[in-house]
């Protein structure tokens, strides 16, 4: 049990650290419009990598911090799996928009300039 407590404490510490980093990054964000130089295609900022990381961490915690007689700690595993599904769906939508932009919008690679 003490080992599990240490694990939970480390997990909580990681969540607090992540929240602090996100808060710091949000405060330091410049307020003007951020556009890449003409002709350079850069994907816009996204929360998806953080969402993926949280989802993976929850799923990992569900596998690691489990009671002896159970396959998973469902308290972590179910939200983790649900977040992975949400992340995947959002990623597909973002990739779809990216595809539209690349194929039909202004982009050097596509050779279709507007």
């Amino acid at each position: 049990m003490p080992d599990q407590l240490i694990g939970y404490a480390l997990l909580a510490l990681a969540v607090v650290a992540l929240a602090a980093i996100v808060a710091g990054a949000a405060r330091g964000r410049s307020h003007g419009p951020l556009h890449p130089p003409p002709g350079v295609h850069v994907p816009p900022g996204s929360w998806l990598p953080i969402l993926w990381a949280v989802a993976g961490s929850l799923l990992g915690a569900g596998l690691a911090f489990k009671p002896e007689d159970q396959l998973l700690n469902w308290l972590f595993a179910i939200p983790g799996f649900a977040l992975i599904v949400v992340s995947a769906v959002l990623s597909v939508r973002v990739a779809g928009r990216e595809w539209q932009d690349t194929e039909h919008g202004s982009h050097d690679e596509g050779g279709t300039h507007h």
Binding site: P37, A88, A95, E109
Partner: protein, 200 residues
């Protein structure tokens, strides 16, 4: 292009015949993964070298066997690398439908591997907390399984996007990137299988 304003002319993201930047990113990611698994293998061999007594599954668990599951799931994963390659070849020729088919086959094989690994876990007779061997065994195979799961998620996303017609012979860099990752996961399993089951 105006000769008076050369500074305003941007460099293209992907030059004709150049190496796509997303693939460079994937290769860098795989490089970091090589170091990650290198550390895990180092842990395994270090623990094995310094272990006092007979190295292997803690008694009364039986020795690791090739059958009924380890060899079949290894073959499944090997075949999945070929099916992934066929998918990349198909889209490179502009055949989106065939690529999707190969992606779904690869996805199915990946899921089969994961199911096989979970079933294998239930038959081993030792757990992650059963000594040093149990810890390193489950850490190595567990992290590999997590990577296969990541690949399965990636393949699912690719299959959905392929269904929406989002890949073409000219633009299929995501398929190539995931294929690199999948081949890497396959290679890691070969190394794991050799280390755990062949060398013992």
């Amino acid at each position: 292009m105006s000769a008076h304003a050369p500074a305003a002319t941007p460099a293209p993201v992907r030059r004709q015949g150049g190496f796509p930047i997303p693939l460079v990113g994937m290769l860098l990611f795989i490089s970091s993964e090589v170091m990650f698994f290198g550390g895990l293998f180092a842990t395994y061999f270090s623990a094995r070298a310094s272990f006092a007594g007979e190295w292997g599954p803690p008694p009364p668990a039986p020795e690791l066997e090739f059958f009924p599951l380890p060899i079949p799931i290894t073959i499944i994963l090997l075949i999945s690398s070929f099916t992934m390659h066929f998918g990349v070849r198909a889209i490179a020729r502009g055949n989106s439908g065939r690529m999707r088919l190969w992606l779904l086959v690869t996805l199915g094989l990946g899921i089969l591997f994961l199911i096989g690994q979970v079933i294998d876990y239930t038959t081993l007779g030792f757990g992650i907390s059963d000594g040093v061997y149990g810890t390193v065994f489950y850490t190595l195979t567990g992290f590999h399984g997590a990577h296969v799961f990541g690949g399965v998620v990636g393949l699912t996303i690719l299959a959905v996007r392929a269904g929406a017609g989002q890949f073409s012979a000219r633009n299929h860099v995501a398929v190539e990137a995931v294929s690199y990752y999948w081949h890497f996961v396959d290679v890691v399993w070969i190394a794991l299988f050799t280390t755990l089951y062949v060398l013992g």
